[in-house]
């Protein structure tokens, strides 16, 4: 690979990275403590936090941070995550991850899989936040309604938890060079040309014009 391709490009700004880590950190803390509540035999999890009662409040506070960063993240990332016609083509080609293909449409900022993860977190994140708020105040709702909040909370945890594993793999060892986007905020030119060519091209034109 040429030196030129190793040149670093700013792909995220600090605000984006902070929002990402607030969302990710609170989400993982909720997921971890939540698994401790889901499986009552896993009492070692709440024990790490000082018992079930402390774990409950850590889960709730963490949930509040999750909700706030989710709302912020929605407004920050939604414009880049609107699905377009080419996304179907990207999906039909397995994103180039599953079998060799030469028909991958060039991606703008995020590919269809990343967009799907964004919308999954937004939709199930909203459900998990609202149902969590309802569980927190279950005493003011009719029982028949309140109990469904617990069910929906578990369903959302299942969806987000599973999709998170995909996100983690593809953001780290599955795509070498990607993780730095969320640490230093910089990736190589070659990375940009591989993962977001249309965005990079547009950016390069702007830079040249300036």
């Amino acid at each position: 690979m040429s030196d030129h391709a190793q040149e670093m490009v700013q792909v995220t700004d600090a605000t984006e990275r902070i929002a990402h880590w607030l969302l990710a950190g609170s989400c993982l803390l909720c997921l971890f403590t939540g698994l401790g509540f889901m499986f009552s035999s896993w009492s070692f999890i709440p024990a790490l936090f000082g018992g079930y009662y402390a774990a409950k409040w850590i889960h709730i506070f963490s949930g509040v941070i999750f909700t706030a960063s989710l709302i912020y993240g929605y407004f920050m990332w939604k414009k880049d995550c609107v699905f377009e016609a080419d996304d179907a083509k990207w999906i039909l080609n397995g994103g180039g991850y599953l079998w060799p293909t030469n028909n991958l449409p060039p991606v703008y900022k995020y590919n269809a899989g990343q967009k799907a993860f964004f919308w999954c977190v937004i939709v199930f994140g909203a459900i998990i936040a609202l149902s969590g708020l309802m569980m927190w105040n279950a005493d003011i709702f009719p029982n028949d309604l309140a109990i469904w909040a617990f069910t929906l909370h578990a369903l959302s945890a299942m969806v987000i938890g599973s999709f998170f594993v995909v996100h983690f793999y593809l953001g780290t060892i599955g795509n070498p060079g990607t993780a730095s986007a969320m640490f230093t905020g910089k990736c190589t030119k070659a990375w940009c040309e591989t993962h977001c060519p249309r965005w990079f091209e547009e950016r390069s034109k702007k830079t040249e014009a300036a």
């Binding site: 509540f37 009552s40 009492s43 578990a154 369903l155 594993v165 795509n175 591989t194």
Partner: protein, 265 residues
């Protein structure tokens, strides 16, 4: 009752014998050291109006006119039914609610974190939440007394023979014998649903007549989906995806970056 039996116990509430003296209600408060609440007169002897965090059993007063125009007082001692398939135990995250060796549902208050899952899940609407203590409360059929070979406080206090407790099979037989004695004008309530409750009623009217008594209670579908489907699928889902990611890494390898014109475009 001997304490080394470790057999399932059932409490029978024969409402046909109840005079609503409320001795059981007071005995429950006394034994469990539950404070009184300030109540209001609502034009009924029922007091307090409903079960509370500090009222684990309540005699419900009901004025009822049957289809032949006969007026009746219906007295029903409300409280935990001690289900075999208990939605509260199933939904409890911390192991605070548990099945005792007597088949009843015990409640370890030390472990309760006030998540309110049990209050929402119970098909009989029994557990009550207390904001101040951040815990939920309900009858534990005097688990401490049972362990010491004593009857629950309510049973001990009952002067009319409405309340009795004994081994499950014997009590179910006793209930049906009593219904026969009443010329089958009463029904047994409790042994046919949620795996059989450890509190049985003899009711002189159909169950649907009684205030706050579900005619056909069951484990809520929401709790079944939550605990039997989404709970295992959360682990299976995360595990399966992690497995697939590992296989992808081993078979396909990481997705390396490439310079322009090499692939995608």
């Amino acid at each position: 009752m001997k304490n080394n039996h470790k057999k399932e116990y059932v409490k029978l509430i024969d409402t046909t014998r109840c005079t609503a003296c409320r001795g059981c209600q007071v005995a429950c408060k006394q034994w469990n050291e539950l404070p009184a609440s300030i109540t209001r007169q609502h034009g009924t002897y029922q007091n307090p109006q409903d079960l509370e965090w500090n009222t684990w059993t309540l005699i419900r007063f009901q004025e009822y006119t049957d289809k032949d125009g006969n007026f009746k007082w219906l007295f029903r001692k409300d409280g935990c039914m001690h289900c075999t398939d208990a939605a509260c135990v199933k939904s409890c995250p911390s192991g605070s609610l548990f099945h005792t060796e007597y088949g009843t549902v015990g409640h370890d208050l030390e472990k309760c974190i006030g998540c309110k899952a049990c209050t929402a899940a119970c098909p009989f609407d029994i557990p009550r939440y207390n904001k101040q203590t951040e815990k939920s409360y309900k009858c534990d059929l005097c688990y401490d007394r049972l362990k010491n070979g004593e009857q629950p406080a309510c049973v001990k206090s009952c002067i009319t023979g409405t309340l009795s407790i004994g081994e499950k099979e014997a009590m179910i037989k006793k209930a049906y014998d009593r219904v026969e004695q009443l010329d089958n004008k009463a029904i047994v309530y409790g042994d046919k649903f949620v795996g059989g409750t450890h509190v049985l009623y003899i009711l002189s009217e159909p169950a649907a007549v009684y205030d706050k008594l579900p005619a056909n209670p069951s484990m809520p579908m929401s709790v079944i989906l939550w605990k039997n489907l989404f709970r295992p699928l959360t682990l299976i889902g995360m595990g399966a995806v992690a497995g697939m990611a590992a296989l992808h890494y081993l078979i396909k390898g990481p997705h390396e970056v490439h310079e322009k014109k090499e692939g995608g475009e």
